[in-house]
């Protein structure tokens, strides 16, 4: 913990010291001060330029020194320090060079080796021959992995670059296109999501492949034994069941929320009003799915508590309270909210219409439907 704290403090310090390097040009920094502070600072311009050059030199020296110290001591904290400084102080133009990753990976390999190395290891391995074999093995493996990743990244990054220049003729889809592909934040989100999906898929594929090709009773036993005994058992297809229940519950909530938003003084035009419907529908579905999943999970626990029935009762009371507030139910009419039948019908139709519309647009957007 102490070394982590030291590394963090050092990284922040390095970031502060190397701040001028972000703009690269020291005179630009001085110019910024000049504009901000006006004539008063004019006399100090030369001084500020000198200061910026001094800071740049200091940060570069620090980066150089930490790199040397990291290489010599090979400790994790220094490694983190060097990494932070390297990332912050490096010239943005250099970041396009793939060789930037190599020293970082080299640090990682050395750190793993140093942490695992013990005195007397060479004797236990029977001499340097085994060590040389290990070294060559690792080097060839890493070279192959890195080459494969570098070549694959060419294709993948070209695909992402193409997304930036994507032109959409539909005015409705162009909103999404602008939001997700033209906007750097949206595109970052899309790329992040895509890479996460690739990672998740690769992980699942590898685990399934290993379990199929080389089934191991020992691994299965270990996995079973490592499970928490108190963990609730999730029945098969329970997510689908909860989704279906959420679809049944969501329409009234969607209707109430959407109409409440319409009461706001802001008037939305096409296509933003449709977008609002989508957002509300999706939000209501996600929230109700989450709540229903939690509620059903509490019933499926091995030792259900009294809280679950109480929560269910509160949900019923809240529903009737809401209906009473909207004048859709009178206590004298019994438990059946007949007065709200028309409203309920309208809510269900409106909600499912939105859902179907969303699904259709999604298919069009993905190029599956014309």
């Amino acid at each position: 913990m102490r070394s982590t704290r030291v590394a963090l403090v050092a990284a922040v310090l390095a970031a502060l010291l190397s701040f001028p390097l972000l703009d690269v040009n020291a005179s630009a920094v001085a110019q910024g001060f000049d504009v901000t502070l006006g004539i008063v600072m004019q006399r100090e311009k030369q001084t500020m330029e000198n200061f910026a050059v001094f800071m740049k030199t200091l940060a570069a020296m620090l980066a150089f020194l930490t790199t040397i110290v990291a290489a010599v001591t090979l400790s994790a904290s220094v490694y983190a320090f060097a990494l932070a400084i390297t990332v912050i102080t490096v010239n943005p133009g250099v970041m396009s060079n793939p060789l930037l990753l190599l020293p970082l990976f080299a640090y990682s390999v050395m750190d793993v080796l140093v942490k695992g190395w013990r005195r007397g290891q060479l004797t236990s391995l029977g001499g340097p021959r085994s060590l040389a074999i290990s070294f060559l093995l690792t080097l060839s493996l890493l070279s192959a992995l890195f080459a494969l990743a570098w070549l694959s990244s060419e294709v993948i990054w070209k695909y992402f670059s193409l997304l930036r220049g994507l032109e959409v003729s539909s005015p409705f889809l162009s909103i999404f296109s602008e939001l997700l592909f033209k906007n750097p934040i949206g595109l970052s989100f899309v790329i992040g999501l895509a890479l996460m999906l690739i990672y998740g898929l690769a992980r699942e594929l590898a685990e399934a492949l290993v379990a199929f090709v080389r089934p191991s009773p020992k691994a299965a036993r270990d996995a079973l034994l490592s499970m928490d005994l108190e963990a609730p058992i999730k029945p098969p297809l329970s997510s689908l069941r909860n989704a279906l229940v959420s679809l049944a519950v969501s329409p009234p909530l969607y209707y109430l929320l959407y109409n409440a938003l319409l009461l706001l003084p802001v008037q939305l035009s096409f296509p933003y009003d449709v977008l609002l419907r989508f957002v509300v529908a999706a939000l209501v579905f996600v929230v109700s799915w989450f709540l229903i999943s939690r509620l059903t999970a509490s019933f499926e626990e091995r030792e259900p508590s009294l809280l679950s029935p109480i929560a269910g009762l509160m949900l019923i009371l809240a529903t009737y309270g809401l209906l009473y507030a909207l004048a859709l139910w009178e206590p004298s009419s019994g438990l059946s909210p007949e007065a709200g039948d028309d409203v309920l019908r309208k809510a269900i139709l409106s909600y499912y219409e939105t859902i179907v519309y969303m699904g259709e647009l999604l298919l069009v957007f993905m190029g599956v439907a014309p």
Binding site: P98, V109, T123, L125, S153, I156, Y199, R203
Partner: protein
């Protein structure tokens, strides 16, 4: 989840995000680097998953050499990778008892195992008497960048090593010098034997082969007399307890006791005497059969080398409940027996109580040897330091003296000495009492 990510994975993801974001905001064309970093991570995840499965199919064989106290006890493991997946890196660590000390090598290391190949891992311990369980190995896979780590698994089996005590060659020669020759017991009385004792005048009935011709030539009719050969029956007994493991490595009371027993056993074997060995504790009475010569010695050595030091740590101390007496009475021969028991001062009085009945019978001479850990190594310090030490340990020595008094009251001969003198003393006593 076959493998899990480490904190470095987070650092790499942050770096990749920084590079991709920098590219998207037009700061630097570093998007491809970010994607490369993520792809390296994905590739490593795939590799780690497959490698973990390969780790679980490693084949391990073990062997050991040097099972004699004081010599290096070398334990080697050959770890073979039957798959086509190279394993870089594997962190190996060896399970071994905390009371063993490594003399060479490392108990943990990091190494790579080639595909369809093997590696050898070996360590050496400073061997100490008893039975030790070494292994199995624990293995953990970690990718070369340390981004993913697998589940720690055990590979191979436990290796059981039995280390025999080493008797002192110098002491053995000294002990043998107390007798006239190997294989014969000095009784000092005339009878059947090979060694010449004396001459006497011929008496009717004497065998003509025994006539001493040189005396006859001088006009005297005499015959040679020979030293009567006899054999002795010896029982060696060790009362084990937790306090026997206290002290420096290889210098604990148990190890000294084991060496004394080894020396005495070898001495008895060289003389062709019968011997057996008993190991007693708070919950056990284990003995070997009475056997003669080399066979007896081997049986005693085997029994001592099977003592588990881990079980000794659970020994509360000997209690006189009659089990030992019953076991001894049921196995002792009709002939006279020397029973030599070794114990610490804490156990000695209880043991004396148990052996009291045997000591009072005419067929058994009981010697109780009290180990004095306070005197270990005292010869190697300066006279001044020795004097100071004696003053400091005066109370404890007096307590031992009190215990000796109590033991003698029960008709048992008690000896309390430093371990180096113990075997000599007891052999001298046995030699004096031969009949």
């Amino acid at each position: 989840m076959i493998t899990s990510s480490t904190q470095r994975a987070l650092a790499l993801v942050l770096l990749a995000s920084l590079a991709i974001t920098a590219d998207l905001f037009g700061l630097a064309p570093a998007g491809r680097i970010g994607v490369t970093a993520v792809l390296v991570m994905i590739a490593l995840k795939l590799y780690a998953t497959v490698a973990q499965a390969s780790l679980e199919s490693l084949r391990v064989s073990s062997r050991h050499e040097g099972a004699l106290e004081g010599r290096p006890l070398r334990v080697s493991y050959e770890i073979c990778n039957p798959t086509y997946v190279p394993l870089a890196f594997v962190e190996l660590s060896l399970n071994y008892p905390e009371y063993l000390r490594l003399s060479e090598g490392s108990s943990a290391l990091i190494a790579g195992i080639p595909p369809k190949g093997c590696m050898t891992y070996s360590v050496s311990f400073a061997a100490r008497v008893g039975e030790h369980e070494i292994g199995p190995l624990r293995a953990l896979f970690r990718d070369p960048f340390g981004i993913f780590r697998g589940r720690e698994i055990t590979i191979g089996e436990k290796t059981v090593v039995r280390v025999k005590p080493r008797e002192s060659e110098k002491l053995r020669r000294f002990l043998l010098s107390l007798s006239r020759g190997a294989g014969m017991v000095r009784t000092g009385k005339a009878g059947e034997g090979l060694e010449f004792l004396a001459t006497r005048d011929y008496m009717p009935g004497d065998d003509l082969k025994r006539i001493f011709w040189r005396a006859l030539a001088k006009g005297r009719l005499a015959v040679k007399e020979f030293d009567r050969e006899s054999t002795q029956y010896n029982v060696l007994l060790l009362a084990v307890s937790r306090d026997m493991l206290a002290g420096p490595y290889l210098q604990t009371p148990f190890e000294h006791a084991a060496r004394i027993i080894a020396s005495l056993s070898r001495y008895f074997a060289d003389r062709g005497e019968h011997q057996s060995f008993y190991l007693v504790g708070s919950r056990r009475v284990e003995g070997t059969r009475m056997a003669r010569g080399r066979r007896g010695y081997e049986a005693v050595m085997r029994a001592i080398s099977r003592v588990k030091l881990s079980s000794m740590l659970e020994e509360e101390g000997f209690s006189a409940d009659g089990r030992l007496s019953r076991a001894l009475l049921g196995s002792l021969p009709r002939e006279r027996v020397n029973l030599i028991a070794i114990a610490t001062a804490n156990n000695a009085i209880q043991l004396a109580e148990e052996l009291k009945a045997l000591a009072s019978s005419s067929r058994c001479s009981v010697y109780l040897l009290l180990l004095l850990p306070q005197l270990y190594g005292i010869e190697s310090v300066s006279p001044m330091e020795r004097a100071v030490f004696r003053i400091k340990s005066f109370q404890e020595i007096m307590a031992v003296k009190g215990a000796i008094k109590e033991i003698k009251k029960r008709g048992i001969k008690a000896i309390a000495l430093a371990p180096s003198d113990m075997a000599r003393k007891i052999v001298r006593k046995l030699a004096m009492e031969r009949v």
